[in-house]
Amino acid sequence: MAGMSSSFPGTVTSSAPCVAAAAGSRHSLPQGAPRLHCKASFGDLHATFEGMRQSNNVDKIGKLADKPNLASSPPVAYQQRIGRKAVRQAVVMTRALASGGESKNILIMGGTRFIGLFLARQLVAAGHQVTLFTRGKAPVTKQLPGESDEEFSVYSSKVKHIQGDRQDFDGLKEKLTGTGFQIVYDINGREGKEVEPILDALPGLEQYIFCSSAGVYLKSDQLPHLEVDAVDPKSRHKGKLDTETLLQSKGVPWTSIRPVYIYGPLNYNPVEEWFFQRLEAGRPIPVPAPGLQITQLGHVKDLANAFVKVLANEKAYGQVYNISGSKYVTFDGIAKACAKAGGFATPEIVHYNPKDFDFGKKKAFPLRDQHFFTSIAKAETELDWAPEFSLVDGLTDSYNLDFGRGTFRKEADFSTDDMILEKLGTKTVVAA
């Protein structure tokens, strides 16, 4: 544990999900886990939470608090959860180093936008040599919210970069030839043919780990989606499917991860952002009727964890895993969870029939209007992985580190909201 700083990106986060109580010891901290002193300053967060939650027991940071029965007790003090989360992270890191032993020479296709940001850091912290392949549009390294100066400095000194455009297949192959990467994490691949130059350049590759999507599943009346279910060759994610098929045909050990909706700080996809913007503006939240469509959100840090779990893991060779949150959620439920996460009052939710409107090219709602969720049981059983974040805790993390700080990726656009509210005769709330 020496030198293991607890304020790894994600220190200022919460811990075990609500199902911890049910699953018993699987989610609880191991006995005798070391105490850590969290370095992050909680001053500003402290203020944010004043009066909103139970007493913040600052003196409990780093101590193992009694694990509450999360299923039925009031919200746990935020600092208590931070302490346990930090300890859990430390344990994860130790295990990563201890198990599977050797440090790997890893290439990440991507790594500067969202998933890769967190994955790269976890891999570097676990002692691997990590190189990012990007066009260089975004800075190669950028300090994450919640990441200490020290951590960021260690990370940026260790991570390497190859600049290039992966769509330039010849160039890509040339740049990778002779590099000797043992593992490739393909985080931003879209089409099967994009994989070929990489495989050609790296004949000694030990594992190709691909970020696919649960969008490949064929829509079904029976849910949840399991990895064995039928896939849809006509889906918008056809390219992801083609990539999986291609990898299978190539003989290289490969693993594919299928996330559902990913969320978390720095999310560039307007999932939680869409809800937070309406909550911030004090606006009603228009949800396609009936609002009980069930979907699933997965925190980006849990996803990064899963990616680390499959590294050099023979059990994972040739396997596909659904990775997302432990519980599913209705559309109405997401609105309520975002409100809880940001400390807003219960939102006004307005249901409408999308068929009654012509929104043109605009999306009136960020999620597909259907049930869409997967079982993560295979990953939990085979990879010894489990999501750390419950939905509210994860959205709180996202809010505190990103959207609640006033940062957004897209400017708020309420034009479709206004169309809906006008037609339904609901008084439009004027944004403050």
């Binding site: 299923a71 029976q222 009980l292 469509q293 432990s326 519980k327 599913y328 439920g333 309520k336 079982s375």
Partner: protein, 434 residues
């Protein structure tokens, strides 16, 4: 000698007389070199049960070669040779049988206290059969009188099937369970009570008469509704729910092992209550199927064999099952609209779905539709992680079989009045003024 040493872990206890039979272990007697060894295959805890499975198969060959070695080395006289040979065969047969019937666990005496009506009645029927297939002894106590009219309906009308399998079928009141002349049991399942008042006499008697394991059929209906489905074991339940009060009482009674199973809607042959039949009734007559709300509501329609396999696993792994709540459902859920489609496919017909608002139509949704008008969705996560249980059912296939039976009993010809359906359809024709 080396072989006997390696077999020592199988607990070879030399003895000259047959030991008193312990209900929690099976034993094999072997005569060799003038000494009788009684081989105890320990059972009762999951860890030793799994150990037994490892002992049984690889060591069986060692054991038989041990006998042969002893046999040759000591020059057994012909009488002992015959005895050894005969008993050796016995060892082979019984060990093989033990291996087949669940890796060496002991056989249990199980009592099922079964309700005489309703959606859960079918559980006892299938569970009894599964237990018999696994070699356990079963008594099923049905509430009430054998002569009651309720016994003319399935599954009770088919109890001869149980008796043919060696199940003892008796009738009586659970409140009188102590005086019904029942022997003691290793395992008692209460598939009857919804309140403490009804279950307490059964539980108390089971404890007093030495039952080691108590199982209870509860209900997933006690979960509090949530924005984050599915219902998972450990989620909040309604505090005043009768089933919950029973569960808490059982937890405090001190059984070696107790568990509660929370089912939802079940399908299967011998069902006492309609499930998919409601859909077939309309589809087969070419009537529209009225579905309240959007039809996106998700629920579990589980084939009862998934429940009985889960219960049987709990009986065979009492330590693993101890102290646990289990959602007794299969691993897939279905939407209301989806269920119509699956039933239509099973029937080989088209179905027309019509959505309606029960309030606007002036009907009580509880009467106009067989399932709760909301998401009612649970997952069997505890069974999977604690018992290693897996669903073996396929709803589409099961509905096909159910449809065949539906036709075979002539229910498609039955004259059914669709009063509520007609009222609903009427209301949809009337334009609603805004």
């Amino acid at each position: 000698m080396a072989l006997s040493q390696s077999l020592a872990s199988l607990v070879l206890i030399p003895c000259s007389s047959s030991p008193s039979s312990s209900s929690s272990s099976s034993s094999l007697a072997v005569a060799a070199s003038g000494q009788t060894f009684r081989l105890f295959l320990r059972s009762g805890s999951s860890s030793s049960s799994s150990c037994c499975s490892q002992f049984c198969t690889p060591h069986l060959s060692l054991f038989s070669s041990f006998l042969t070695e002893q046999h040759q080395r000591n020059g057994l006289r012909s009488v002992k040779r015959r005895a050894a040979g005969a008993v050796w065969n016995n060892v082979v047969v019984r060990a093989a049988a033990a291996a087949v019937h669940g890796q060496g666990e002991s056989k249990k005496k199980v009592l099922i206290v079964n309700t005489n009506s309703g959606g859960h009645a079918i559980i006892g029927f299938w569970f009894a059969k599964d237990l018999r297939a696994a070699g356990h002894a079963v008594t099923i106590l049905t509430v009430g009188d054998e002569s009651s009219d309720k016994m003319k309906k399935p599954p009770f009308s088919r109890f001869s099937e149980l008796r043919d399998l060696g199940v003892e079928t008796v009738w009586g009141e659970p409140a009188d369970i102590g005086v019904l002349g029942l022997s003691s049991f290793d395992v008692v399942l209460d598939n009857n009570g919804k309140t403490l008042e009804v279950v307490k006499p059964v539980a108390d008697w089971a404890k007093a008469s030495g039952a080691k394991q108590f199982l209870f059929i509860s209900s997933a209906g006690i979960y509090k509704s949530t924005d984050e489905p599915p219902h998972v074991e450990g989620d909040e339940v309604k505090g005043d729910a009768g089933h919950k009060i029973v569960e808490d009482y059982l937890a405090g009674l001190g059984f070696e092992s107790w568990a509660s199973f929370r089912p939802q809607y079940m399908t299967g042959s011998g069902n006492n209550k309609d499930c998919e039949e409601w859909f077939f009734d309309r589809i087969v007559r070419g009537r529209p199927v009225p579905i309240p709300g959007s039809g996106l509501q998700v629920t579990n329609i589980s084939h009862v064999s998934d429940l009985s396999s889960m219960l049987t696993l709990a009986v065979e792994k009492p330590a693993a099952a101890n102290g646990s709540i289990f959602n007794a459902v299969s691993d897939r859920a279905v939407t209301f609209d989806g269920l119509v489609r699956l039933c239509a496919k099973a029937a080989g017909k088209e179905a027309e779905i019509v959505h309606y608002d029960p309030k606007a139509a002036g009907v009580d949704a509880k009467k106009s539709f067989p399932f709760r008008n909301m998401h009612f969705y649970a997952e069997p996560r505890a069974a999977s992680t604690k018992l290693g249980w897996e669903s073996k059912t396929n709803l589409q296939e099961d509905l096909k079989a159910r449809y065949e039976e539906y036709i075979a009993i002539g229910r498609d010809k039955k004259d059914i009045k669709f009063e509520l359906d007609d009222k609903i359809l009427e209301s949809l024709l009337t334009p609603v003024s805004v």
